[in-house]
């Protein structure tokens, strides 16, 4: 579990505040899993894996604090410390019809999942505040059997409005017996997707984000009420059955001290 130090092999600017960093390393990850990224003397935090083809993996990073600011200053060939992959992953069921619902940088693990399911029919609904913040539009358009639905808060691309409105229309109008909803993004969006999964009695997998210190089930920081299970090991990807038992989902999370913060 000691960090392995690897070099950045490619950097892609996704938009003004998001970059994808690639590393030539066989991470052996599954879609939905995450790694801890460490820059000595700065910090270490969890990042979901947005690409992995067995030779190269990618992390799509939003610039928002000291660690990511430092990461954005790094160049090709600079090194970072990685531990992982950690956590659970999304189901891969090529005979299912996938409804993928991504909000903001929630597109990172779902884009990775969409690229790695061969043959499944996919409706991919991606939402962002505005067109310039939309992630992976080009990557997603290249995936066969994938219908892309874009929503933006300001109407600058796709439909103006919420991803869940688009999702509900699709669920109402499409007839298929093997459906699965998978989602990643802001928690209130995910709980809305979960509510639709309950309403339409559909398989569903959500990705729960909580403050993590270790990533491997020891620190206890990411434990959820009342199940008492760790988001880092029993999540981040959780089934509809488990997610429905997480009392705090959509209500509160905890800060570094363990104190409750309401959504």
């Amino acid at each position: 579990m000691q960090p392995f130090t690897i070099k950045i092999s490619k950097i892609i600017d996704e938009n003004t505040s998001i970059k994808t960093f690639y590393f030539d390393y066989n991470l052996k990850s599954q879609p939905g899993q995450f790694v801890m990224l460490w820059i000595p003397d700065v910090d270490q935090k969890p990042f979901s894996i947005s690409f992995d083809d067995g030779k190269t993996f990618g992390l799509t990073v939003f610039k928002r604090g000291p660690l990511t600011e430092k990461l954005f200053e790094l160049n090709l060939g600079d090194r970072v410390g990685i531990t992982g992959p950690f956590g659970t992953s999304y189901s891969i069921k090529p005979d299912y019809h996938y409804y993928m619902v991504a909000g903001g940088y929630g597109a990172a693990p779902l884009g990775n999942l969409a690229e790695r399911i061969n043959g499944a029919k996919i409706d991919f609904i991606v939402g962002a505040r505005s067109h310039d913040l939309l992630l992976f539009e080009d990557r997603l358009k290249k995936i066969p059997n994938l219908n892309l639905h874009i929503t933006t808060d300001d109407g600058s691309a796709g439909t103006k409005g919420r991803v869940t409105d688009v999702l509900e229309k699709l669920l109402e109008n499409q007839n298929d017996d093997k459906r699965i909803l998978v989602t990643c993004g802001p928690e209130l969006m995910q709980t809305a997707v979960l509510a639709l999964a309950n309403k339409y009695d559909t398989k569903c997998e959500v990705s729960v984000e909580r403050h993590m210190k270790c990533g491997f089930g020891v620190c206890g920081q990411c434990v959820v009420d009342d199940l008492g299970i760790c988001t880092c090991m029993d999540g981040p990807v959780m089934s509809r059955t488990i997610a429905n038992q997480i009392f705090e989902l959509g209500k509160y999370h905890r800060d570094k001290t363990g104190n409750i913060i309401k959504f």
Binding site: Q2, G220, D225, T257
Partner: protein
Amino acid sequence: MLNTTFLNKQFKNPIVLASGILGVTGAGLANIIKIGAGGVTTKSISLEPREGHKNPVMMGNDHFFLNAVGLSNPGIENALPEIAKLRSLTDAPIIGSIFAGTAEEFGVVAEKICTGPIDFLEVDISCPNVGAEFGRPFAYSTEAVETITKIVKTKSTVPVIMKLSPNAWNIAEIAKAAESAGADAITAINTAAGMMIDIESRQPVLSNKVGGVSGPALFPIALKCVYDIYKAVKIPIIGTGGITTGRDGIAMIMAGATLLGVGSAMYYNKGTCFSKITAEMEEFMKAENITSLEEIRGTAH
């Protein structure tokens, strides 16, 4: 077979979750009971909330585990509802752990935590990872241990357990000082000071640079400390440090421990960690015709 009485309280087995591991929330601690522990110790709680050190705060390999979390906790006022939640979810014994920067503050936190439904109070005077903030751990000085034990005893409504450090060269003497000041039990040991360096980046791995060693590497050190303390005092001992197997647990009982603190084993064996240790202990006891742990306690002496 593993039923254990510790200070007049019944434990279904002698394994208690050691302080610092998975002890942030009431629900998290209740889950530890569900997966097989006989009791739990909360993460150490202070008067005010603390964020702890920056990441990385813990790392491990096959031989040892290393951490410097920096005593992050929500502060006593916010921790009390978590302890109440824990009590609502389990009947198992609860050990509340506290720490403070001064003897007086230990008294204040002790008094406050005793308003919650705890069965025992563990006093953490031995964390090796906050030296920059608090100076040398109190557990290195017999005078400091006596002073803190006396103050906490006057404020506590439950039995008081003093948690000692293997970094003190005279741990048995320190245990004796705690006993003579009124301590009801000893937890031995906290982690041993250590570090880890990432040779590619040429930097310490932990943000705090140094941390506390636990896991298998700590076990023989803990065993010897418990052995020495058992000779020196009459009060019971929670033997803690590197226990990952049933054989480790049995050896610790033979050195003189009454309860067994288990923490880093969660890193090595995840969800099966407690049930694995208890199953292995029972298997050994059956093979050796041992009917109770009382029969073998301290037999290594």
